[in-house]
Amino acid sequence: METLLATFVSGLVLAALYALMASGLSLIWTTIGVFNFAHGALMMVGAFVAWTVSEVGGFGLWPGLIAGVATTTVLGVIIEYLLIRPFYGQRNMVLITVMTTLAAMIILEKSAQIIWGARLKQLPRMIEGDISISGAVISAHEALIVVLAPLILIALWQFTNRTPVGRSLRAVGQNQEAAALLGINVPLTFALAFGLGAALAGLTGVLLGGIRFITPSLGSEPLIKAMIVVIFGGLGSLGATVGAALVIGMAEAFLVLTLGLYWTPFAIFLGLIAVLVLRPNGLFGRS
């Protein structure tokens, strides 16, 4: 029973992380129709900048968090302006932007290697200590992620559904041409979506930096996980992404328990393919 509970809690932590990782990616996809392969690299930059400000600069974790998120937001807007915007309206835009965002990923990773070197770094935890839930022990930092993730996602949902700017993001994502007719500045909306998605990546990177070592490749595995979550959920709403994150996080935790670490990725990909065969629009996607 204790093992099951520990696995459940571990699944919750994974689900929270995956939901955060995937939400920015999903926001960019639903608004612009671009899969941002630099999303993981932006997480890494966020973590490195936060580490530099808090550890090297000695300003503490919270200024580091703000600096990390601000940097990735600006980088996101720059990536959109330089590597996405020139290709809007082109028939093969999705393919072109796969290449340009991959290029951004490589540039960011190599730049990080030059700036910060290959030595492992780690951010201090936001809250020190451990928390025991009926015998299942997780760090207070991980518990904070489990609490923060839903709050951030609720705030994001409120923003996209309850504010005019958020609704303009949805309108542009659903019908760009008609949105322009409503007076919405479509290119500005694209930049906003990319900046917001990158900010979420930066925030996730800072949270990750407290539980994983920060290296230039910190974002590589989270990027793949975020993509699985977004595709599995159905390339659609935030709710679908959160639902998929919960399913995959839990599945991963219980698969590690039953099949072991080695076979878990294989089983997850098999599950993803099976879902896509049965439901080509993803688990929660609409046809």
């Binding site: 309206g89 007719l181 409503l182 007076g183 479509v186 290119p187 609409r286």
Partner: protein, 242 residues
């Protein structure tokens, strides 16, 4: 001075000239009909004027005396040149009220409360009741979706409204209701450009008619005279006499 003026407007796609040296003006308050066989360049002409999704290859377009030929589409909309699409411009995840409120906020610069009130007024005028205002646009009927497009344009208080086949897919009673609605809008001071295949609607509304053929203006003038023009009959019927 015409409220909207096109001077030698041309749109080319490679070797194909979709709009060919079109020149005409629309006076304030006028209801101008635009007709022509399929593929004659009617919708492309609207696209070129509004910049959605492309502008003109050459020529000049003036709105209220100001050049808008190279202007981005959302700015054109904010200036007061609104349009609807031939296909329903629906947003699967937005409600009817949210759609109109967005247009009021971004197209007219209203705050949220004023935009919500303006949206309710337009929904009422469009015949979309309160009960259906909160429904997703995809859940509305074809007629309601057409009316929603018009309401979204009207909430921006445009000077000129360009309607691309608003009657397509509608039943006779719905076309009659649309006819009455358009008369009311026009009498309210909105200049209308109307592309329509439902000839009865076009002829009952249009004060002047332009017929396009192969991207160029074939005939222009009084609607009843234009439809009797030999060249127009030939363009529509492919060489046979009516």
């Amino acid at each position: 001075m015409p409220v909207l003026e096109l001077r030698h407007v041309t749109k080319r796609f490679g070797g194909l000239t979709a709009v060919d040296d079109v020149t005409f003006g629309v006076e304030e308050g006028e209801l101008l009909g635009i007709a022509g066989p399929n593929g004659s360049g009617k919708s492309t002409l609207f696209n070129v004027v509004t910049g959605i999704p492309f502008g003109a290859s050459s020529g000049e377009i003036l709105f209220d005396g100001k050049p808008i030929t190279r202007m981005v589409s959302h700015r054109i909309a904010r200036l007061g040149l609104a349009r609807t699409f031939q296909k329903d411009a629906e947003y699967p995840d937005l409600t009817a009220k949210e759609t109109i409120a967005l247009a009021a906020i971004y197209g007219r610069g209203l705050n949220r409360r004023a935009a919500a009130e303006a949206a309710e007024t337009q929904l009422e005028a469009a015949g979309i009741g309160c009960a259906r205002a909160g429904m997703l646009t995809t859940a509305l009927s074809v007629y309601e979706r057409k009316q929603l497009m018009i309401a979204s344009a009207l909430v921006m208080q445009p000077k000129v409204l360009m309607l691309d086949e608003p009657a397509s897919g509608l039943t006779r009673p719905e076309i009659a209701a649309l006819n009455a609605h358009l008369v009311k809008i026009n009498k309210g001071g909105v200049t209308i450009l109307l592309i329509e295949h439902v000839l009865s609607l076009l002829l009952s509304l249009a004060e002047r008619l332009i017929v396009l053929n192969q991207g160029a203006v074939l005939a222009e003038g009084d609607p009843q005279e234009v439809i009797r023009d030999e060249r127009v009959i030939e363009a529509y019927l492919g060489g046979r006499s009516a």
